[in-house]
Amino acid sequence: MLTRVKSAVANFMGGIMAGSSGSEHGGGGGGCGGSDLPLRFPYGRPEFLGLSQDEVECSADHIARPILILKETRRLPWATGYAEVINAGKSTHNEDQASCEVLTVKKKAGAVTSTPNRNSKRRSSLPNGEGLQLKENSESDGVSCHYWSLFDGHAGSGAAVVASRLLQHHVAEQLQDLVEILKNSAVLPPTCLGEEPETTPAPSRTLTRAASLRGGVGAPGSPSAPPTRFFTEKKIPHECLVIGALESAFREMDLQIERERSCYNISGGCTALIVVCLLGKLYVANAGDSRAIIIRNGEIIPMSSEFTPETERQRLQYLAFMQPHLLGNEFTHLEFPRRVQRKELGKKMLYRDFNMTGWAYKTIEDDDLKFPLIYGEGKKARVMATIGVTRGLGDHDLKVHDSNIYIKPFLSSAPEVRVYDLSKYEHGADDVLILATDGLWDVLSNEEVAEAITQFLPNCDPDDPHRYTLAAQDLVMRARGVLKDRGWRISNDRLGSGDDISVYVIPLIHGNKLS
């Protein structure tokens, strides 16, 4: 009870702080900032693993690197398989996080049900500390929605833990106002709420909470007849509203972390990859360098792309070009094939700017001697020599080492959302969606993963409830490898992944059963 009061107060404080924060990144004064603050949530492994404190301690063994799997007694929706392993020593904790739930989204605000897959009595965590009550009964006017998430933390585990506990509630909150529209698949979503003839005027529903607090100023829904229009109108399909809801949920999650870090210790940042199955479609939203692929009949269908300094170079360069102060006079937004040396001043060197994918020559000036905004290749590419991933949540306090230059303006919380229509295909028991953090993909290609899966699954009993977890364990084992004299090794004596590795194997056949 006390903690709930505390968190309510904290949320209130967070709200106030957010209003006036802006460029203010509280440097540890006045009891806010720094690590004396309490954790938002205690560190742990994914809730669905159901590990005790002792088990968490055992799992953090950087020498033997035990592969954790879903226990025999536990089940995830759709018989989803899961396995994970800790890094080889780069951080004390496994900084990956995951969560998986069935959400029931109901139209009425205050009736979003979260059903954790284990039968705990834990109250659902609330995005804003306000009343989303647990309701056990009907889904009569609600929509059930499956949710899987995967987060890869860096510079601390705080943001990943918070996101794994709260992002699902933001997703549910964003979707709840859309439930009626989405269920009515025969009619395109109304462009303007309250204007459609078949929609009864119900201003209270269309109001955002903020608007209602403002006393209903600007509330639509005045009962005048819809005006005749003479201009063309874009047709917005239903799935685009879901995409928009997921994008908003990511943004809200990031804003919440920003607010709450004044009262909680929420360390570091994280990538986020989530899958939502809603009304027969899979929505895969990715911000960061985790990856999702579908393996259907042995064929690979990529469901995400990675956001790294290399893939987002032009966006980052353009931002730096438009807002050069973000570079703190220490970096140049231009890219050169290598560091420019002082003795090369006045010579012509290859370079590229935000508007280019090709290369050209320019005369080297003083400014070009500065450290490049994006430097390094492949996994070593960094933004301002600091971070290797360009989208995700958190990182609000991340600065260039030994400077006052913030990285956050260059990072985006916006996910790329891809849609997969489950009903368009017949899926077999070996057709799966794989989600994994970069620990897997750094050492195994899509093809190798697909080959492993198409070898493994057909050799399992199709009725074995653990087959997808065993497949996930197999993938983690292939990426971790075995510790030899010269480090962790995988097939063909290649280097195994020393990173945290987390893998979901989600069978798609269950998606067909739904619809």
Binding site: D54, E55, C58, I63, K71, T73, A83, Q473, V482
Partner: protein, 212 residues
């Protein structure tokens, strides 16, 4: 809870010999007649006292099935003790001991203490492996030996604790490099601290260690 030492154990042996049941009996003092097949690794932990010192046992329970052998093998490293279990009512589980032992010796550190356990001693009427055979195998390979019953709890405490005593003695003899975590031994957070900090349960530990 504070401990002087932490020892990491691994339990190995054929599938169905009772590895998970031994662990459950030791950590929870209960017996579960029907147990799901272990398909990965599971953990247990318990505090014991040896020589007046709190010792935390961290126990890794592995899958016995052949198909998980490569994963199980990778867990030997960093274990201070191993319980190698066979089923006295199934001779084949006894016959496979050599393979298990080879595996363990090859993938673990050389000082790992191995306790050979003939489990299911309550099923005397179905016995296929004589106690003497187990003793002989242990003698031949330099292992400690006990027959246990996870069902009746007979000798279960002893098996885990005697292994710990053996490890503890090796530490006293200086055989283990306790600063190398790859040996499966960790020194507790309060070990070596002055008595002034904790007058409670661990207060006499320094003095106790010194005079024994």
């Amino acid at each position: 809870m504070a401990y002087a030492y932490l020892f990491k154990y691994i339990i190995i042996g054929d599938t169905g010999v009772g590895k998970s049941c031994l662990l459950l009996q030791f950590t929870d003092k209960r017996f579960q007649p029907v147990h799901d097949l272990t398909i990965g690794v599971e953990f247990g932990a318990r505090m014991i006292t040896i020589d007046g010192k709190q010792i935390k046992l961290q126990i890794w329970d592995t899958a016995g099935q052949e198909s998980f052998r490569s994963i199980t093998r990778s867990y030997y490293r960093g274990a201070a003790g191993a319980l190698l279990v066979y089923d006295i009512t199934r001779r084949d589980t006894f016959n496979h001991l050599t393979t298990w032992l080879e595996d363990a010796r090859q993938h673990s550190n050389s000082n790992m203490v191995i306790m050979l356990i003939g489990n299911k001693s309550d099923l005397e009427s179905r016995r296929e492996v004589k106690k003497e055979e187990g003793e002989a195998f242990a003698r031949e390979h330099g292992l400690i030996f006990m027959e246990t019953s996870a069902k009746t709890a007979s000798n279960v405490e002893e098996a885990f604790i005697n292994t710990a005593k053996e490890i503890y003695e090796k530490i006293q003899e200086g055989v283990f490099d306790i600063n190398n975590e790859a040996n499966g031994i960790k020194i507790g957070p309060q070990h070596g601290a002055t008595n002034a900090t904790h007058a409670g349960n661990q207060g006499g530990q320094q003095a106790g260690g010194g005079c024994c």
